[in-house]
């Protein structure tokens, strides 16, 4: 599993809801390209066009609040965003992102430490993130959550478990 991520930060505010991330009007499909094209459109219409694989998202508290739509982290993941850092995440969004092997890390103070476009360097193993204004610690992920990330997502983890069960 990749444990070090270095990239350009996109910075958003607090209470970024799943309605911001992917609006209800775009959900009438199962095509991830559609979700990616309109990702975060309500906050920054340039984001989906200008985000590059390897970029990171930095946001204020309660990122991903609102609906259970997994299309929200799918949209972000499909753009190649490598990780999301925020002081807190809404619970369903957190689960959905982890299930898709998209690292989401609770990092108090991060939204004030990073300006849009700045480089940040995230070290999952060390538990810290380097920003131009200093090094911040994020809350370590619980072991069972880390296991899902390490497996490459929940589907990969379940497949592995099923194969192990079948051959035992």
């Amino acid at each position: 599993m990749q444990t070090r991520f270095r990239g350009r930060a996109w910075v958003f505010g607090e209470d970024i809801s799943t309605d911001h991330i992917i609006a209800g009007k775009y959900l009438g499909t199962t095509d991830p390209k559609v979700f990616a094209e309109h990702c975060l459109e309500a906050v920054d219409p340039t984001f989906a066009k200008q985000a590059r694989p390897g970029d990171l998202i930095v946001a204020g508290p309660n990122f991903g609040c609102g609906s259970s739509r997994e299309q929200a982290p799918i949209a972000i993941k499909h753009l190649g965003i490598s990780a999301i850092l925020a002081p807190s995440f809404a619970r369903i969004f957190f689960r959905n992102a982890i299930n898709l092997a998209l690292p989401v890390l609770e990092c108090p103070g991060i939204e004030k430490a990073v300006k849009p476009g700045e480089e940040v360097e995230l070290d999952l193993a060390a538990g810290d993130v380097r920003t131009p204004s200093g090094v911040l610690r994020f809350r370590p992920l619980p072991p069972n959550v880390l296991e899902i990330l390490e497996a490459g997502g929940l589907v990969a983890k379940l497949k592995k478990e099923l194969t192990a069960k079948a051959s035992s």
Binding site: D19, A23, G24, L27, T30, S68, R95, N96, L158
Partner: protein, 418 residues
């Protein structure tokens, strides 16, 4: 040794442990899995996992609610896929268009949510059916697929927040006003990762339709679940299921994380202003704000009791010129009942529209969405930017009574004087 909250009791039983504590990670056996159109999204990871059959089709309920009837060929196709999957998997409790409802309301009215049960739903407002004394939490498509494959799900045992309510709700003041007040106090993430238990004399006196409103909007507190102890009111509501039902509640010495107390005596109607459900003000503070749309719908407040409240105010009145009033019941059963009781006629006589049941407008999907410059008063649960259409639209959340009074005058109106 200290006692247990309702969530702890359910999660201990479901994970086969004598006791659990907040922070424990458990693998909880699911008693009921229910889904709406998210099933179409979940089919992708489900197929990838490689399990041919759903673990127990008798424990699964599926309905269609977000796009009913389907507004595009692609969505009609999604409905076909769901229909075909339920047939192939032997999911007998598939409630197709015509027998449908917003899934939480359907689960409630069919008696599928029983006290003490561990329930997983494919929608964030699954919390609502916790009003039956169940632990009910919403998840996304991959988690839904995992439950379909193995019948269990990992969960972190939540801390429990107690919301204790005393005092009598005044004239034209409802559970909606109370829960908005609660959300204003906790913030829209104040109960994040937690289970919320509602208790106290006011809650005990509430009928089921109002208890559903409280639990429904624990989602807007960030909660994992919202619960009300099962009592005689619950048993009466579920009597038609013929299931053996005892009381189910927390131990007297249960340990709570946070506790909030509210006295609703003297509390008036509340309104959540744009664009956050925690941006709540007393109705007096926003009275006079001009609206373009009044939408009565959603799992939160579109039950028959809500429609009756609106009809009582609208009877013999006309919707203000230029205001679009739309009533979209929470289920097909409620729709029929509203027609039979003459409520549909009251709405149309007043100049409103009355549509079949769907989530459509509440999530900005279809059947009545908002333009950039429109202001809407809504009986729904969320008003984040873009929720009901354009990100520039303004949405005020309120009770059906406040909404009906507002539709008549064309400006936000205190229903107590209407």
């Amino acid at each position: 040794m200290a006692g247990f909250t309702m969530a702890e009791k359910v999660l201990a039983r479901a994970s086969g442990k004598p006791r659990v504590a907040p922070g424990d990670i458990v693998d909880a056996t699911v008693d009921l899995l229910y889904m709406h159109e998210m099933l179409a999204m979940a089919l992708i990871p489900f197929k990838e996992i490689g399990v041919a059959k759903v673990w127990d089709p008798a424990k699964v309920v599926v309905t269609l609610d977000h796009w009913v009837p389907p507004p595009t060929p692609e969505i009609a196709k999604m409905h076909q896929q769901i229909r075909e999957f339920c047939r192939a998997q032997g999911i007998a409790r598939f409630h197709d268009v015509g027998d449908h409802g917003i899934v939480h309301q359907l689960i409630a009215e069919r008696g599928y949510a029983l006290p003490g049960r561990m329930i997983i739903g494919s929608d964030s407002h699954t919390n609502m059916v916790g009003a039956c004394g169940a632990f009910a939490a919403g998840v996304g498509a991959t988690d839904v697929a995992a439950v379909m494959a193995k019948g269990s799900l990992w969960l972190r045992v939540p801390e429990t927040m107690q919301v204790w309510v005393d005092g009598e709700l005044g004239k034209r003041v409802y559970a909606k006003d109370l829960i908005l007040k609660v959300i204003a106090t906790t913030g829209d993430d104040g109960a994040r990762y937690q289970s919320v238990e509602f208790a106290g004399p006011t809650v005990e006196a509430l009928p089921m339709n109002e208890r559903f409103v409280l639990c429904n909007m624990t989602t807007e507190m960030g909660a994992k679940a919202g619960m009300v102890a099962a009592d005689e009111v619950t048993q009466d509501y579920l009597a038609h299921t013929r299931e053996p039902l005892g009381p189910f509640g927390p131990d007297e010495d249960a340990v709570y994380g946070k506790a909030h107390q509210f006295d609703v005596g003297g509390m008036g109607p509340q309104v959540a202003c744009p664009s956050n459900p925690a941006n709540v003000k007393p109705v007096e503070d926003v009275a006079g704000t001009k609206v373009d749309v009044a939408f009565l719908g959603s799992c939160t407040n579109a039950r028959i009791e809500d429609l009756r409240i609106a009809a009582e105010l609208l009877k013999g009145e006309k919707v203000a010129p230029g205001v679009r009033l739309q009533i979209t019941p929470a289920s097909q059963r409620i729709y029929r009942q509203a027609v039979q009781e003459g409520l549909a006629d009251v709405f149309m006589e007043a100049g409103g529209t009355f549509t079949s049941s769907t989530c459509g407008p509440c999530f900005g999907g279809h059947l009545g969405v908002l333009a950039a410059d429109e202001v809407c008063i809504s009986s729904t649960n969320r008003n984040y930017p873009g929720r009901m259409g354009s990100p520039q639209a303004q949405v005020y959340l309120a009770s059906p009574a406040t909404l009906a009074a507002t539709a008549i005058y064309g400006v936000i109106t205190d229903p107590r004087g209407a």
